[in-house]
């Protein structure tokens, strides 16, 4: 569904991504793990068009067997329209907008009024707290509630591919478990998920496949279980002496 081919990204004088290649298959949950500064967020921002790669291609096939597009030439809004939602690091809800408005902004490109109100209703069923706080400024929500809002907002676009950057960041373990259970549910319902996580234990437990990113290039890949059992990964990312 999504293939990053030999991506190079430069930020100023820094060579951030050095020939990164990876693939996300339709229906999969794929995790990208790695240390701080390895280039995880840069990878996601390259997919969603906020960063233009210096070279390489981001090949995306929205429909099985359908035409392929190179996202590296498209503006972010075109990429959103192609069915990719990116839930950014640190949640980034629009804190001065109301909860409801945040959700509406998430469905910004849609014009089907009934569909939008149906999905608004679905968000409220998924997270009843959002209905209660519908008219409050999103900035007044707790961290966990903001994460729920950020995910619900991303879903308002009805994404085929959902990109999540550090969904566990700064959240209490109970909330993290809830968010991860929800990701699994969304995936079971047909959404492909590509996520970046610091929390490698959770990520490898959830993901069908995973990649390990080091200094801008993929150094390891495999199924979630394989990587979780790999001694090098255990030492570097899972915090256990194997």
């Amino acid at each position: 569904m999504l293939r990053l081919e030999d991506i190079h990204v430069h930020r100023g004088r820094t060579h951030v991504l050095k020939g990164l290649t990876l693939a996300v298959g339709r229906g999969e949950i794929v995790a990208l793990i790695g240390a701080n500064g390895a280039g995880k967020t840069t990878t996601l921002r390259t997919v969603s068009g906020l960063i233009r790669p210096t070279s390489g291609a981001v090949v995306y096939q929205p429909e099985p067997g359908g035409p392929q597009v190179d996202l590296s030439r498209l503006a972010p809004e075109k990429i959103v329209a192609a069915g990719i939602s990116h839930c950014p690091e640190g949640r980034q809800v629009f804190s001065s907008l109301s909860v409801r408005e945040n959700l509406l902004v998430g469905g910004y490109l849609r014009r089907d009024k009934e569909g939008i109100s149906r999905d608004l209703e679905r968000s409220f069923e998924l997270f009843p707290i959002l209905r209660e706080r519908g008219h409050q400024a999103a900035g007044s929500l707790s961290g966990g509630e903001q994460m729920m809002l950020a995910i619900a907002r991303a879903l308002m676009n009805r994404p085929k591919l959902l990109i999540l950057d550090e969904p566990s960041l700064g959240l209490a373990p109970l909330i993290v478990a809830r968010i991860f259970a929800l990701i699994a549910e969304l995936n079971a319902a047909g959404t492909t998920v590509f996520l970046v996580e610091q929390n490698a234990v959770m990520a490898l437990g959830l993901a069908h496949r995973a990649y390990v990113l080091e200094l801008g290039a993929i150094v390891l890949s495999g199924t979630g279980r394989e990587l979780a059992e790999n001694p090098e990964v255990r030492r570097a990312y899972l915090g256990s002496a194997a």
Binding site: P76, V80, A81, F94, L97, V105, Y108, R153, N157
Partner: protein, 298 residues
Amino acid sequence: MSGGYLTDLLVGGLTLGSMYALVAIGFSMIYGIIRLINFAHGDIVMIGAFVTLGLVQALDLPLPLVALATLAAGGGMGLIIERAAFRPMRGAPQVTGFIASLAVSIMLQNLGVLILTAQPRNFVCPDWLSAPARLLGANIRVIDLAIVASALGLASGLMLVIKKTRLGMAMRATAENLDTARLMGIDVNRTIMAAFVMGSALAGVAGFMWGGKFGQIDPLLGYVPGLKSFVAAVIGGVGSVPGAILGGYLLGMSEVLFVGLLPPVYAPYRDAFVFGTLILILLVLPNGLFGTSTEERA
């Protein structure tokens, strides 16, 4: 002091404040959305004034049409400036945009002098606008009331657009977080352009008002009101539209009261007074009346 004189001053303050408020709104909107202090914004007032003069004098159009044309001219000018001067610099450091706006301002002023000469021109208004209005024995004209009423109408209309429409929602989202707005599918170039067009349209109308109120216009007329409206925007909390409106009225009112209530020898210091007020207010409220702190916005 007669009650009539006080009413004069109050209406004068409201009129001046209306113009400052209309110009300040644009400063605030543009800063709010791309963190650009657009020093060319005041010169749109000048362009609005000359476009009105041209339309009234040369074509003798009816007033509502002239007002619409001034809105369109201001908005069009904002569109051109954004496309030509600011969009190519998107992503450059803030100071680059700041310098570019100074360059645009100087260019517009010099173009004005080149085409229109620096000679001030009389700004003719239809007679009924210049006619005196009877209000509590005060010495005011119909145009004063027209300025206040239309400024309040335009300002509330704009606030409604920002608060209630899809475009307004996109503008607020873009102002808060440009990258995240793009991740929602918002074409931020379009929302930025909309902010320039709306803000500049209001500045254009302020030019019409300025000419009507003071009777004379010249190509450099935008400079001082531009600067003062910027002060008004800062007082209100730059980035906040209601703040800009309130700041405009506060500034206009206090400037007129300063000149009118103190002995005439102080009158030449009105600009010093305006900037002194700014410094005082910022000492107490560093983010202005309605501003959010830079930390929150980061």
